[in-house]
Symmetry: C2
Subunit: 232 residues, 2 copies
C-alpha cells in the first residue's frame, strides 16, 4: 500500500513538529511527501495534471497541516480548489475507494476543543468540510491524527507519537492491536535485511516473541467469544 502525505504549512522551515514528522516519515518505504507550498512556487497549470496523475497512484492520501483559524492553511484549500476538479473527483471518480487521513497539529490544547471549552467545537466538527469531501469523493475518511501541542511533549511522549504516526501513515486500518502488530513485524522483517547475522538473530527472536504474543491474544479472543456466546 502506498501513501502520499500532502503537507500544507506556510512556515515549514520553522516548524519543529513538521521536521520531526518528516524525519519519521522518510524512514518509511511506500510513503511519499509533497509540499504544497513549494508546488505553488511553480506554474499553476502544470500542477493540476501532474498532481491528478500522481494522486491516482496512492491508496492512502493524508492532508497534514497545522490548524490555522480552525481549518487548514490556505495552501491546502488552494490545492483542493485547483487539483480536485469536479471532473476528476465526481465525474471520473478517480479518488474513489482511497483513504483520506488527516494529520493536524494544534497550538491550543486539545482539551479546549469541546462544548464549554474555549474553542467551543470538537476537532471532528471543525474538520467536517474534509469529511464531507471524502464522502463526496467516495473515499474512506480515517479517524484524524491529532498532534496536541508538540512543543510541550516530553521525549518519551515524542517516541510514542512517532510510532503512532508511522502506523497512521502506513499500517492497515483500522489501527487495531492486530494491525499494529502486523505492521511492527513487517517493519522488523524489513529492517533485518540490512543487519549483521548476529543482529538478524536478535530481530528473529523479537519477531518470534511478538508473533507468539499474537497467538496468545488470538487464543484469548476465542475464549472470550466462547464465554460471551454461552452468556447469551
Amino acid at each position: 500500500m502506498k501513501t502520499l502525505i500532502l503537507i500544507s504549512h506556510p512556515k515549514l522551515a520553522d516548524s519543529a513538529t513538521q521536521e520531526f514528522l518528516k524525519t519519521a516519515g522518510k524512514s518509511q518505504a511506500n510513503v511519499d511527501f509533497e509540499y504544497i507550498d513549494d508546488l505553488y512556487k511553480e506554474t499553476k497549470i502544470d500542477i493540476i495534471q501532474q498532481q491528478q496523475q500522481q494522486l491516482t497512484k496512492y491508496r492512502r492520501i493524508i492532508f497534514q497541516f497545522p490548524m490555522y483559524w480552525y481549518s487548514s492553511p490556505a495552501s491546502l484549500k488552494q490545492y483542493m480548489d485547483d487539483v480536485f476538479t469536479r471532473k476528476f473527483v465526481v465525474a471520473n471518480h478517480l479518488l474513489r475507494n482511497k483513504e483520506l487521513g488527516i494529520v493536524v497539529t494544534l497550538g491550543d490544547a486539545e482539551a479546549e476543543f469541546q462544548a464549554g471549552g474555549s474553542e467551543h467545537f470538537t476537532i471532528s466538527e471543525l474538520l467536517r468540510p474534509f469529511e464531507a469531501f471524502a464522502n463526496k469523493a467516495g473515499m474512506t475518511y480515517l479517524k484524524p491524527f491529532v498532534v496536541n501541542q508538540f512543543g510541550y511533549l516530553e521525549e518519551d511522549q515524542k517516541e510514542l507519537l512517532l510510532v503512532d504516526y508511522l502506523q497512521y501513515v502506513s499500517a492497515q486500518m483500522p489501527l487495531s492491536l492486530d494491525n499494529r502488530e502486523k505492521w511492527l513485524v513487517d517493519r522488523l522483517t524489513h529492517m533485518k535485511q540490512e543487519k549483521s547475522a548476529a543482529d538478524q538473530q536478535k530481530l528473529d527472536l523479537i519477531i518470534g516473541s511478538i508473533e507468539a504474543q499474537q497467538d496468545q491474544i488470538d487464543d484469548l479472543k476465542v475464549n472470550i467469544k466462547m464465554i460471551r456466546d454461552q452468556e447469551e
Copy 2:
C-alpha cells in the same frame, strides 16, 4: 452602521449570482465591497496593515463566497491567515463586538445538506470554522444567508432574495419584523430626497401606511402578551 462585504470568488466575472448581489449591494449607502482575489494581485505586505485598518471602521463584516468543497474558496482563507493575525484578533481584540455575517451561494440543492442527504452535513456544521473564528474574535456570529441555486430562481424569487439580501447586509439584527420594517422606512425616507414633489407625497403615504401597520402590530403584540399573562 457600516458594513464591509469581503467577496472571495476566483471567477467573479463569470458569476451571475455575484453580479446580481453586487448590483443590489451598491445601491446601499454605508455598504462597501472588497474583492479579495483582486487584492492579491497587489503586493501582500501592503494588504495586511491596510486591511486591518479598514476592518476596524466597520460594525458588520460579511464573508461572501460560493461554497467550494464545503468551505470558502482559498482566497478568503488566505486573507484570514494573513490579515487576521493573532495580535490583531486575540491580543488587541480589534474585531471584538463586531458582527460576522456569511453569504454563501450553493451550486448543490440546500435540501441535500442534512443527515441522509447527499451532502451529509448541514450548512451550520460545514461553516463551524467561521463560527469558531467569530467566537475567538469576540464577534457576534450572524445566521448565515444562504443563496440556494440562484440559476434556478424565478424572477419574483430573485426580487425577494434581493430584499432579504439588502436587509441582511444593512438592517439591524436580528431580522425581526420590527427591524425589517424600520429598515424599509429608512430606505424609503432616504429615497424620497431625490424624488419630485408628487413622488414624495406618494412615498409619504407608503411610509405612513407601513408605520400605521407597525402600530397595529405593536397593539396586537400588547394584546397577545396580556392574554398570555392571564393564562399563566
